[in-house]
């Protein structure tokens, strides 16, 4: 990291894993962000406890962004602190960064990469790959991007400072999100067919699965409520059948 020793960078990376640890409804991840910044602040204010405390309080105020991209903000802010930029300027910069890092991270990670990686895990487990290998492959696939984003963010943030917004727009994050969504759509199709497996040889079961699959596709993101109701209804009918002596 430019201007910071390797030990400071490593501490910031480890601390970034807990950036949401003290999430609260007043400052959101503010306290976690200050916790993440402290190794850099201690390096910058070695003999100035009051300056260190003031910087810590400034960075502990309201802040929010995608947790994996918090390192990008922390790297850039650490760079501004090292360049002795006016605190008001740093605050304005953080405010401007908040929304854009949130939306980039949400679209890339929560909206594309995570569902695609989860579907990969489901495809593996549904196609009969041994459970521990399915779990391990999912965790490896997902965390390569997860950890990569944290490391890349800290380094790029520190290297670009004020220019971090421009750097994020130029980085291939959106292209990565599109490729992840492509893979996710393909894997969703695979997973649907593999899930049919246990009833594939029974015409009645196959028909029911096809009908519910088509219904699920049509319902889209509303499907969760509908299928939760189906589970509840099946449960209720099964209990009633058992209690009235009509059960299997």
């Amino acid at each position: 990291m430019i201007g910071f020793p390797g030990a400071v960078e490593r501490k910031m990376l480890v601390r970034s894993l807990t950036v949401q640890g003290s999430w609260n409804y007043e400052t959101l991840i503010g306290t976690g962000f200050a916790f993440l910044m402290l190794p850099a602040l201690r390096h910058l204010y070695p003999d100035d406890p009051e300056g260190l405390r003031a910087a810590m309080v400034r960075h502990g105020d309201l802040f929010n962004c995608h947790p994996y991209l918090a390192t990008l903000a922390a790297g850039a802010v650490a760079r501004l602190e090292a360049d002795r930029v006016q605190p008001q300027m740093v605050e304005r910069f953080k405010t401007a960064l908040r929304g854009s890092l949130g939306s980039v991270g949400d679209q890339l990670v929560w909206g594309a990469w995570r569902p695609a990686a989860v579907l990969l895990g489901l495809v593996l487990i549904l196609s009969g790959v041994v459970w521990w290998a399915s779990v391990l492959l999912f965790l490896l696939a997902y965390n390569v991007i997860h950890i990569g984003l944290r490391v890349w963010g800290l380094r790029q943030g520190a290297a670009t400072g004020f220019e971090v917004g421009r750097m994020v727009r130029a980085a291939p994050l959106q292209a990565l999100g599109r490729r992840a969504a492509d893979a996710g759509a393909l894997l969703a199709g695979f997973a649907v067919v593999l899930a049919v497996g246990p009833v594939a040889r029974e015409p009645g079961g196959l028909l029911l699965a096809t009908a519910l699959g088509a219904l699920g596709f049509w319902l889209g993101l509303r499907a969760r409520t509908f299928f939760a109701a189906v589970v509840g209804l099946v449960w209720l009918v099964a209990i009633l059948l058992g209690m009235t002596g009509h059960g299997a």
Partner: protein, 223 residues
Amino acid sequence: MLSDPLVYLGLVLFGGWMGLDGTACGQFMISRPFVAATLAGAIAGDALAGALLGVVLEAFHLAILPVGAARYPEAGPPAVVGGAVFAATGPSAGALFSVVLFVLAFEWVGAHSVRYLRQASISWTSVRSVAFAGPGDLERRHLGALGLDFLRAAALVAVGLAVLSLLLPPVLAVWGLGEGMATALRVGVVVGLLASSARLFAGRARLFLLGLAGGLLLLLIRG
């Protein structure tokens, strides 16, 4: 059922960890339902049973996106409860439907406990409410919040395991749906939820259809 106190303790500790992994610490996605339920099943003695339940729970969670101010059910600790009890009971249609229903409701109990913790922690972790004595004070409070989140999730799992273990036997005693019909319904629900996840990837219907064809080919090849 879960009669070994060491297994119970292991599940409670694992559940505490899963509470942290969900948001506060790591977010390595070990707390995803199909991972957490499978591992909880392994601790309780039957990883495959845990995986069977985990696939159903995961199908319910695929489309939940933690964006903006959205409130969403907590996945990890309830999946630990479900995976462990389902594995310990022995997989059956009655157990599966009952455990899924319990976990779907219990996920909202988890979500409310997270909300209360975040509200309460304003008074001791927010710079607007507390005058921090120095960096060490902030670090202690931040790490303390992590500890409390762990305890919250562990307590949630301890209660969940006890309640579900208590409720399940009388329900199974009066379960009246045949295994064949229940399997068809379970598969249908999972298929429906997985098909709905295609909508997460807007404008990619062709790739989804290609995936369907690929999966079909794989099934045919395997006979």
